[in-house]
């Protein structure tokens, strides 16, 4: 095991009678990217606030490197809150330097770091502007810089990519990946499945405070078992909807998308349709995180 493991053990948070987080146990190894998925109000932000020590957990333990996270470790932790917030009247430079110094950084060091980040995001000209004069996307970049300027070992990003255009999302993603390569442990939440799927080795899907799925991405997909089958053909495939082993189906313009119980079902289907006419596409695909999410979270809705 690595040194700097972030461990959540049976963490529960109650607000009065309401359970915001229920018996959550996760281990996040060092230099890993960990994704939190969940619908709105699933308990992601509450979990982050507990990790940061802003809220006390009602039960359970949160440790990092076997130590509780508190203000003595604040220089090692970076946080990008979901609700973006900076001093609107303060210049970017003063702002970042102030926040960096609160995280135990020296002023000169913070300035150098700030410059390199601004350059990276191509917004060097905003250094002496007030935050309220910047566009929302640029404000978000500044917010991101505020979270990472002191080179944290543990970085918590709450919905880092929301509200950004695709170019900026790519830019930010790249930055996050560089940080990870430099040895930071990164925990982030999103309701965009593709971001988590693309970037995280481990993830956890929260639903109404309870972890529905948790583990490594590959394992989750394997355990899920079900596969996606895409068939494009010139003849009607409607009969496949009721084929044994088919869980879900969706008719498209060119053919049909099926969710099947396992690989063997795909073989049987192929045998069934191979004589019926011309098949232009027959592809067996791994289930997407989206499918897993909808299945797991959707099920408990019912």
């Amino acid at each position: 095991m690595c040194d700097l493991v972030l461990k959540l053990e049976h963490v529960t948070k109650k607000f009065g009678p309401f359970k915001a987080v229920n018996d959550l146990s996760i281990t996040i190894p060092e230099k890993e990217m960990f994704g939190f998925l969940g619908a709105n109000g699933a308990g992601k932000t509450t979990t982050f606030r507990m990790i940061l020590g802003l809220l006390d957990s009602s039960a359970g333990r949160i440790t990092w490197d076997d130590q509780p996270i508190d203000y003595s470790t604040s220089h090692l932790v970076g946080y990008l809150p979901e609700e973006r917030g900076l001093y609107p009247k303060l210049k970017v430079r003063d702002q970042i330097v102030y926040l960096a110094r609160l995280r135990g950084m020296q002023k000169t060091e913070a300035l150098i770091e700030l410059k390199s980040w601004l350059e990276r995001f191509k917004i060097l000209e905003y250094e002496n502007k007030k935050v309220e004069e910047l566009s929302k996307g640029n404000q978000q970049k500044i917010q991101f810089i505020a979270a990472v300027v002191h080179k944290p070992k543990l970085l918590i990003l709450d919905e880092p990519f929301s509200g950004l255009d695709p170019i900026n999302v790519e830019m930010l993603k790249e930055a996050v990946l560089t940080l990870k390569e430099n040895g930071a442990t990164i925990v982030f939440s999103s309701h965009r499945m593709e971001h988590v799927e693309e970037m995280c080795e481990h993830l956890c899907i929260l639903h109404k405070g309870s972890p529905v799925v948790s583990g490594s991405l590959k394992e989750i997909k394997r355990e899920f078992g079900k596969k996606n089958l895409v068939i494009h053909a010139d003849f009607s495939l409607d009969s496949l909807k009721s084929f044994p082993g088919v869980v879900k189906s969706k008719v498209t313009m060119e053919g049909i998308h099926l969710q099947i119980e396992g690989e063997d079902v795909a073989g049987k289907i192929l045998k069934e349709i191979v004589d019926k006419g011309f098949i232009r596409k027959f592809a067996l695909e791994e289930p997407s995180l989206n499918d897993i999410f909808i299945e797991k979270v959707g099920n408990s809705y019912e």
Binding site: E83, G85, L102
Partner: protein, 417 residues
């Protein structure tokens, strides 16, 4: 550098640099200068060097000289001129503005003087009052001589009865000391009152601004709320001391320069001659404690609101407390030993002003003042512990409602259950 100091100086320097702060400070300094130079300013506007010229018409020709003597004894600045022309001529001179007024002296049936005073307007009451007083005195002497009263007999009649006030208590303040103390306490009470309202407001605004701009969440993930709250309170406290120091320096400098002319005016009544050092020390102590008391209260009230617009509403009860304390203190200036004042001086929120009033005006045993200080320190500690908990929860709470129920909610947020 410790994060406490970083926040402290950040708060201090940022507030110091704001335009509103600089403007308020400058304006107040101008007012201080104006008050301490009030005599010079009044003189500046007096064209005739303060002399008022009045025409006297006296048909008998015997009243002018003795009347002039009497008026001179009342006010040296009034210059009387004997006028030989007609009434109309005199009136035109007054209308032209060459003279302030015309007074027509005559003798009635009882051989006593009477007068008709004419001026452009009779708004300048100080002038005709002086003229009237002069005439009154003149009449008294005339009447006295009519009934054969010698001047020394007259003096006997009018001499005031001797009335000495002596306090029996040991170390009790003498009349003169009491007047001195009243002036000083009066001014210091004002300083405490305004400072507490102004700076407590500033703190509540500061906290609410940070919260509404949502920068708070980053701040509290970096630095503990308690540290933050106190760094802010001390930072603004430092700001208040800076501002007060500026006022005091300017005031003191200008005051000592104009010492001579001021002595006769308002300040003469409330002599500032020998300011007792003890009163100043107590003023500083109670000022600082009072500031901390209300600042802590303001900080945690500020942490409960989500929008800046709601700050005023939230701290209104606190402001009313300060106003109530001030009102009681004003009443107490005239009757500092009333039991009511004694009782309220032990109520924490009133202590800074009322205990200070008592210390300044009465001769209190040291333990009473110390007890007041202890009460304040204990209350501040309780408020700080309680406030820090509310603050911690409050800054994470965003909602529409902003009532005192939120205190309960905020406390619940910090609890484990």
């Amino acid at each position: 550098m410790n994060s406490f100091w970083i926040i402290l100086f950040h708060t201090y320097l940022n507030k110091l640099k704001t335009k509103s702060f600089l403007v308020t400070t400058l304006l107040t300094i101008v007012i201080v200068l104006a008050i301490t130079n009030i005599n010079n300013i009044i003189d500046l506007f007096d064209k005739n060097g303060g002399k008022e010229r009045v025409i006297v018409i006296d048909q008998s020709g015997q009243l002018y000289e003795p009347y002039k003597q009497q008026v001179k004894s009342v006010n040296k600045e009034i210059q009387l001129t004997f006028f030989k022309g007609s009434e109309e001529q005199a009136e035109t001179l007054v209308k032209k503005g060459e003279y302030a007024g015309v007074i027509q002296l005559s003798v009635n049936e009882q051989k006593l003087p009477e007068a008709i005073y004419k001026a452009k307007s009779i708004a300048d009451s100080s002038l005709y009052t002086d003229l009237q007083t002069g005439l009154q005195q003149f009449k008294t002497t005339l009447a006295a001589s009519q009934i054969n009263l010698a001047p020394d007999q007259l003096q006997k009649l009018y001499a005031p009865a001797s009335f000495k006030k002596i306090a029996l208590e040991k170390n009790a303040k003498t009349e003169e000391e009491l007047n001195q103390a009243r002036g000083l306490v009066y001014v210091l009470l004002f300083v405490i009152y305004f400072a507490v309202i102004m700076y407590a407001n500033m703190i509540a605004m500061e906290v609410a601004t940070e919260k509404s701009s949502r920068v708070m969440e980053i701040l509290i993930s970096s630095v503990s709320p308690i540290k933050q709250m106190f760094a802010k309170i001390v930072g603004i406290g430092l700001l208040s001391l800076t501002q007060l120091a500026a006022f005091l320096l300017v005031g003191y400098y200008s005051f000592t320069r104009n010492m001579e002319s001021i002595k006769e005016g308002f300040f003469g009544v409330y002599g500032f001659g020998g300011i007792p050092a003890g009163t100043i020390v107590y003023a500083v102590i109670f000022f600082i404690l009072g500031y901390f008391l209300y600042a802590t209260l303001a900080a945690f009230l500020g942490s409960l609101v989500s929008r800046i617009e709601d700050v005023q509403q939230m701290i209104t009860p606190m402001t009313l407390l300060v106003v109530a304390g001030f009102m009681i203190a004003m009443f107490g200036l005239g009757k500092p030993d009333a039991p009511f004042i004694t009782a309220t001086s032990y109520i924490p929120f009133f202590t800074p002003m009322i205990m200070f009033l008592r210390v300044g005006m009465l001769t209190l045993p040291a333990w009473e003042a110390i007890l007041g200080i202890i009460i304040l320190v204990v209350t501040i500690s309780i408020l700080a512990i309680f406030g820090a908990r509310v603050y911690r929860g409050g800054v994470l709470m965003y909602g529409k409602s902003n009532s005192y129920k939120d205190i309960k909610k905020a406390l619940q947020l910090t609890k484990k259950e």
